[in-house]
Symmetry: C2
Subunit: 408 residues, 2 copies
């Protein structure tokens, strides 16, 4: 497609779509123009002339002039249908829909091979941070031991306000929504689904592992209570919602669980809607990427960089999965946690691999020690149970694995 002006058909004109429109208008390095935008709501007043809008998806999908579909709607099943039809019709796709991607990644991978077209989705993982491109291109030959970080801007904004401005959880949530970087359904953010989808996508590009989202634990920040926050402050910790995947004992582990983070550590300093990704490799060692994880312009800018990459026929190589030595995903490991629940017998010391101790207060019971991930997975659907990872995870398996990499 080199030297040709790309013609774009866009689905959705919300926060990211409008960001893309502005970014595209204000930059001159890329040869691309928007031909049509498909929207749902016929009544809404819009910033552009009505000529450019359509309510019929086939007006874009069947237009032979359109080279690239930019899919920016909320509804994951509808989005997936659009992506499939676009590829069948010979169009490349750029999307930021993490739920749709995480749920259909294997099929999206296969469809790209089948129709010899590209699907790029840098904007889907941590907004402006170019993490997928770096995992694909730069860490190709680096044996990666782990990837972790703050993958959700709105919960990080909420936690920052709760810790720094003594706002209540609900006040802080409202603030995040008003600023436009909480999803339309806040439970996707606060229950940890959104960062889990991103983690599933990142795991494919980090370790070559395709996992279904339902296999991966997501615990959110909605059950964090004032005592947890008091405990954190007394011990000079922050609480951050951390997404993490690592290689150990020939398996890949991954989960999204809030964690106590020492106040002087790198992740603690990542505030408000900023995201951070920490990649640990055997040779490059620790690499950190920090940037805005949400918002109209930052995500629009990531989407535009994908469009720009299509101009030179870029495709994800998925090298780590194609090298054929990808490892199985597993929840068969234990991590150190603080578990809290209403006083009673819901959980006991017998549920722990190693039980460290417990205390009671404010009608709640607190137990600490190490618990198997499978057990945490079951608890994640129990409304009464809150889990926060210990500041030192004590991932013996991970440490061993890193040593193995270096002495291999």
């Amino acid at each position: 497609m080199q030297n040709k002006k790309l013609k774009l058909g866009i689905f959705g004109f919300g926060c990211v779509g409008q960001g893309l429109y502005h970014v595209l208008k204000e930059t001159h390095g890329i040869q691309a123009e928007i031909k049509k935008i498909c929207v749902k709501d016929r009544e809404k007043s819009r910033i552009l002339n009505s000529d450019i809008f359509t309510f019929d998806k086939y007006e874009i999908l069947n237009d032979p002039e359109i080279d690239v579909i930019v899919e920016l709607i909320n509804d994951a099943p509808t989005a997936f249908e659009i992506v499939k039809t676009a590829l069948q019709n010979g169009k490349h796709v750029v999307t930021a829909n993490k739920k749709m991607l995480a749920e259909n990644l294997v099929e999206i991978y296969n469809l790209q091979q089948q129709y010899n077209r590209s699907v790029l989705y840098e904007g889907s993982v941590c907004g402006s941070i170019p993490i997928l491109r770096n995992l694909e291109e730069y860490y190709d030959n680096d044996l990666i031991a782990s990837i972790e970080g703050i993958f959700n801007g709105s919960t990080n904004y909420i936690l920052t306000k709760v810790f720094e401005e003594k706002k209540s959880y609900l006040e802080a949530l409202k603030g995040a929504q008003d600023l436009g970087f909480a999803e339309s359904d806040p439970s996707l953010d606060v229950k940890g689904f959104d960062p889990k989808y991103k983690l599933v996508i990142a795991m494919a590009h980090t370790f070559g592992v395709f996992t279904q989202p339902e296999e991966v634990i997501n615990m959110g920040i909605d059950k964090i209570n004032p005592i947890d926050i008091k405990y954190a402050k007394e011990n000079n910790y922050k609480i951050k919602l951390v997404a993490r995947a690592f290689k150990a004992e020939g398996k890949i582990f991954g989960f999204v669980i809030p964690q106590y983070i020492p106040a002087d550590s790198m992740l603690a300093g990542v505030r408000n809607e900023y995201n951070a990704v920490l990649v640990e490799g055997a040779f490059a060692e620790k690499q950190v990427f920090i940037g805005k994880g949400a918002g109209s312009y930052p995500t629009g800018s990531a989407v535009l960089s994908d469009i720009s990459a299509l101009a030179y026929n870029y495709r994800y190589a998925y090298k780590k999965s194609e090298q054929g030595d990808s490892l199985p995903f597993s929840n068969d490991a234990a991590v150190d946690v603080v578990v809290s629940f209403p006083t009673g017998n819901l959980i006991s010391s017998k549920d722990f691999e190693t039980f460290k101790g417990g205390y009671q207060g404010n009608g709640h019971q607190y137990l600490t020690g190490s618990v198997k991930l499978e057990k945490l997975k079951a608890w994640s659907s129990w409304d009464e149970v809150s889990v926060i990872l210990a500041p030192e995870l004590n991932l013996v398996a991970l440490e061993k694995s890193k040593k193995e990499l270096l002495s291999a």
Copy 2:
């Protein structure tokens, strides 16, 4: 060169060369083998069998089987001769020699076009951090306002030890050299030449500006005295050696000068031999990259990623310079500084654009206010003068420029 095993000829087998050897041996994702290594010292005992070594550069440069020259020696003029001959002989080049690159970047750019071969040098700027590749590929369409950060691992290690462990400057310097991440000539690091070379290279890929190193101010950490450190601690600052370039009023400014940094800011948390690069774009907004800036494996890993990129014919596009709208480099701006010198008339309030105040102590005079960069450039060669940037740079021009970008 796809699907072909690359044959490498390496110049130099010091810290980075040996790191590359190990990284290459322990990874299996890349098809490349070392055919010959050219070294200087005939007496040194080495970890590899003597068959692989040569003392004659033409045994590599004239070998038609060798596809890629990896240049890892210290001597910049000799390195440049090697690079030129390699390109003339149809070979691609990977190098981490920042001094050679910074001094000859225009010619290296031209030689690549002339001989249709690639010169890659990710390892030359901030070790393991993939900053050049990101500037080339990802920030293509983002209007970048500034790039700044900690570009030198050994001075950052020294400053960290001086601040955290109350070591003297000389003790800390020795520690950095013992650990192998201070250059063989420490003045390159401590006087700020090394980060300046990196800044010159980065400016070409950020703004499309080719500048000679002698145009750019470098002030080091060797004149920082105990009173400066005491002042920093009393005010909850760290001192970091910051490299910085930014766009303002239609020009590009750039310099390497130590700076007081608030202890709770992102750069303050970048410790020991870690480097950080902060890119500020109009759309992606603030992006931070942190990683090890020196050391055998981290730099070896960056060099390997360049070799790997050659396997798919990667070349820097130098898009920002080829777009033809690159701006001139300039020192015609003022910055806020604290200047110290032995009590006397060396410098007076008249040297300042805006004079804020002064004090005396310990046989030294301290003056604060804003000074033109041209004047700082003259002072940078005066042994008695120490300059530290104020924590708030008050770069009005920069702020204005960012607004211009957004409303363009």
